[in-house]
Amino acid sequence: MSSDAMAIRTAEAAGRPWVEILHEWVTTVDHKRLGVLYIVYALVFLVIGGIEAVIIRIQLIRPLNDFVSPQVFNRMFTMHGTTMIFFVAMPVLFGFANYLVPLMVGARDMAFPRLNAFSFWLSAFGGFLLYFSFVGGSGLYGAGNAPDVGWWAYAPLTSRAFSPGHSTDYWTIALLVSGFGSIGTAINLITTILCMRCPGMTLGRMPLLAWLNLVMSGMVLIALTPLSAAQIMLLADRYLGSHFFDTQAGGSATLWMHFFWIFGHPEVYILILPCFAFMSEIIPVFSRKPIFGYPVMVGASVCIGFVSMSVWAHHMFSIGMTSYANAFFTITTLSVGVPTGIKIFNWLGTMWGGRIQFKTPMLFSIAFLFQFLIAGLTGIMLGSAAFNWQLTGSYFVVAHFHYVIVGGILFALFGAFYYWYPKITGKMLSETLGKIHFWLFFIGFHMTFDLMHIPGLLGMPRRIYTYEPGRGWDTWNLLVTIGALIQSIATLVFVANLIISYFKGRDAGNDPWDAWTLEWSVSSPPPEYNFATIPTVASRRPLWDIKHPEDPDSRYE
């Protein structure tokens, strides 16, 4: 019966009023449904944030363009950045974590299902608040406006003197609210991973996905708190007359920078660690080999977690810190490269001697490796404080972090979508559309972000709504914009694939990729409480043991 839950659900749905179905989704505490809610919510914001990016790129397609006014442009890059980080990347990764972690550690749900639902709705409400600023930003009167202080909202631009009205307040409160949601989810994930593993699953046998999400959640706890604190201080400055960041009254602008970046840098790793997690599941399966050097991979992840807590001021090399501080943050930043390098090499080691199958998830994973390598290397350039003085604040750094976020995080996410969509919906995504999506996106990505480094090296700062002709920036910006348009088309192909395959896709069966972790042992989509009987595992690849009783992993571990 429960083996084809999908069919049952559709059959039920046919007979029931939509309010009831809606009610079910709104009140759900099931980790899988909440996971799907997170993901769908993030996809909606991905499209919105993407439209904002396209507006930015059209404005910059040629010098002295006037597609949008300076204010609109400034709102667009503020909203684009805030949306993509807080309302796309975070929720989509939380969505996957929510969906996958209990299944992969052999649990029936998250540790605190109600907290889970509460966290999701807090995050969702945060996104709503942010966008409500378009209507309510200037108070009850007027057309309203969205925040335009940049996604890191440096003081004192956010003080009431420079940012009247309420746009900044919407930004602040949106982040505060969704930040509490993130903290809730992090607590939930940590507890689930530490306390809900099935019998036999020691920490050393846990899938890397669980390990990486554990480290990520720990970082969320440490990094999101200063951000929330800073938001409260900013609100106090704006409404209660305090002067933390109010430079006109002796406050400190650099204090905000420290608060923001001690969140902001770990945030990068909060986003990339779950993507490392996807890679560490996908690459082995499509190379037909276990992950190379599991203990070292775990160690490197934990190490990244710790070291990346001590590098935040590399975002502030130009603010005039002492030479000692600059040198300190150079060495910490460069040393993150070591565990990160270990990871890249271990993935290559996993592929070495394997039998690599170029299914769409693997294509995205290989592209991830290639692009993450480059992103890491430009990161090293930026990490060298003195070189950084020429690079920070320019289009070079914009290209660098998009290389991380799009070339790394988004490619890994696409891989994850193609890999786990069959589990979540019971249908395979179309391989044909998938390949079109991959190649289009790959070409668009490289056209945009490879070339975007160059105007930065030629002195083009970021966040300018227009530029003078004759600086050598024109052609690059034109090509970059064309690349962005190609990426948008590719994204539409992806969305189309998600929708078409949902209705017309091939049935996936339990285990379409011949994979080895627990989620593939249950039906697709999994039954309501995941496991009729809680499984017992004896190695890191329980399904391998079942499929190869003559040569089980448990013999070697």
């Binding site: 150079t330 060495i331 090499f345 002195g459 966040r463 300018i464």
Partner: protein, 356 residues
């Protein structure tokens, strides 16, 4: 069928990756040529340094780029090799490859080598940080205070008693006559950043937080840059122009700037407009009762080639348009439209044109 597709996929992916890298290399090289010194004032490339400290950064960047380039070539070759060599083929399809779980020696190697690279990069960087940040200020240095305003630059030469805006003039500092310029960076409102790539890296101007930078430009010429820290609506049109001049030219410029404003009796009508409207609350003109500090000092307005921080050329027509409607040139600048009658406007512009 499907198997063939996969095999093709592997080879194609490998080849595409290589082509991409080659292309990127060519583009990059082309760019370096484009940024040749011929028109250095137009393309503010970081690879075209014209001052001692920019040169230090340039050489460091070359070093860092070659090391990272090398790492790239090695890892990238490995990746392409792995993708092509270990792809699924008809000959190995269906059989699981040998299950290898790791290797301590290899993993140790790829931990230790990166550590060594990190140490080398760190030492190279620390040397340059020290050379630039801890450089003592020589007695012959020129001291200038730069103050960032929403959306323009104020420059003060305290020892020389000169105040000006938007166009910075500094002397060349060649080996025979070293005369570096030391800039003290302040902000009147929000954060800004001073960045003229050919003269040096960027440093922020932050309220309540004094920063210090220096340049030792080795060639005369005009160097362009712009504010590199988002500071509000018109951040994009907060351009920087630094004119590096020979010792004689610079001294002559200073002499001229020290003079009070020329008082041309023929233009007293325009002067009256200036002195009886709000202009004087925001602008200073030496020798008049205009002492405002909110906007740029206009005492020697006509000695500047541009107005509104480089947003427009300094022509009578642009001046007129600017005073009539600043938004037409720089939407969102903090200078209000003054709503003068046409006659007053003409007189005022004629007066401003006397401020040589």
């Amino acid at each position: 069928m499907a198997k063939n597709g996969q095999i093709e996929g592997g080879a194609v992916l490998g080849r595409v990756l290589s082509v991409l890298v080659i292309l990127a290399g060519i583009l990059f090289a082309a760019q370096l040529c484009l940024a040749s010194p011929a028109d250095h004032s137009q393309v503010p490339s970081i690879f075209d340094p014209h001052s001692g400290n920019a040169d230090l950064l340039y050489r460091l960047s070359g070093f860092v780029l070659s090391i990272t380039g090398l790492i790239f070539v090695v890892v990238f070759t490995l990746l392409v090799y792995v993708v092509i060599r270990f792809r699924e083929r008809p000959t190995n399809a269906g059989r699981e490859p040998a299950q290898v779980y790791g290797s301590n020696q290899i993993e140790l190697a790829w931990t230790v080598i990166p550590i060594l690279i990190v140490v080398v990069l760190f030492l190279a960087t620390a040397r340059v940080i020290h050379a630039i940040q801890d450089a003592p200020e020589p007695a012959e240095a020129l001291e200038v205070t730069a103050i960032g305003h929403q959306f323009w630059w104020e420059y003060r030469f305290p020892a020389l008693g000169v105040v000006t805006a938007n166009e910075l003039h500094i002397p060349v500092s060649d080996r025979a006559h070293p005369r570096p310029t030391f800039l003290k960076l302040l902000s009147a409102d929000t954060d800004h950043s001073f960045w003229v790539p050919q003269l040096g890296g960027k440093t922020d101007l932050i309220p309540n937080h004094i920063n210090r930078i220096w340049f030792s430009p080795q060639e005369t010429g005009l160097f362009l840059g712009q504010c590199a820290q988002y500071c509000g609506t018109q951040h994009a049109k907060m351009l920087l122009r630094v004119s590096v001049e020979s010792e004689e030219d610079f001294d002559a410029w200073i002499q001229a700037q020290k003079e009070p404003a020329i008082q041309d009796e023929k233009e007293s009508a325009g002067r009256r407009v200036f002195e009886t409207t709000a202009c004087l609350n925001c602008h200073a003109v030496g020798g008049t009762n205009g002492t405002g500090r909110f906007g740029p000092d206009l005492t020697h307005l006509m000695s500047r080639q541009t107005i509104a921080a480089g947003a427009a050329e300094n022509t009578p027509a642009n001046l007129r348009l600017w005073i009539q409607n600043p938004d037409a040139i720089k939407f969102g600048s903090l200078m209000p439209a003054m709503k003068l009658s046409d006659a007053d406007l003409d007189a005022l512009v004629r007066y401003l044109e006397t401020l040589k």
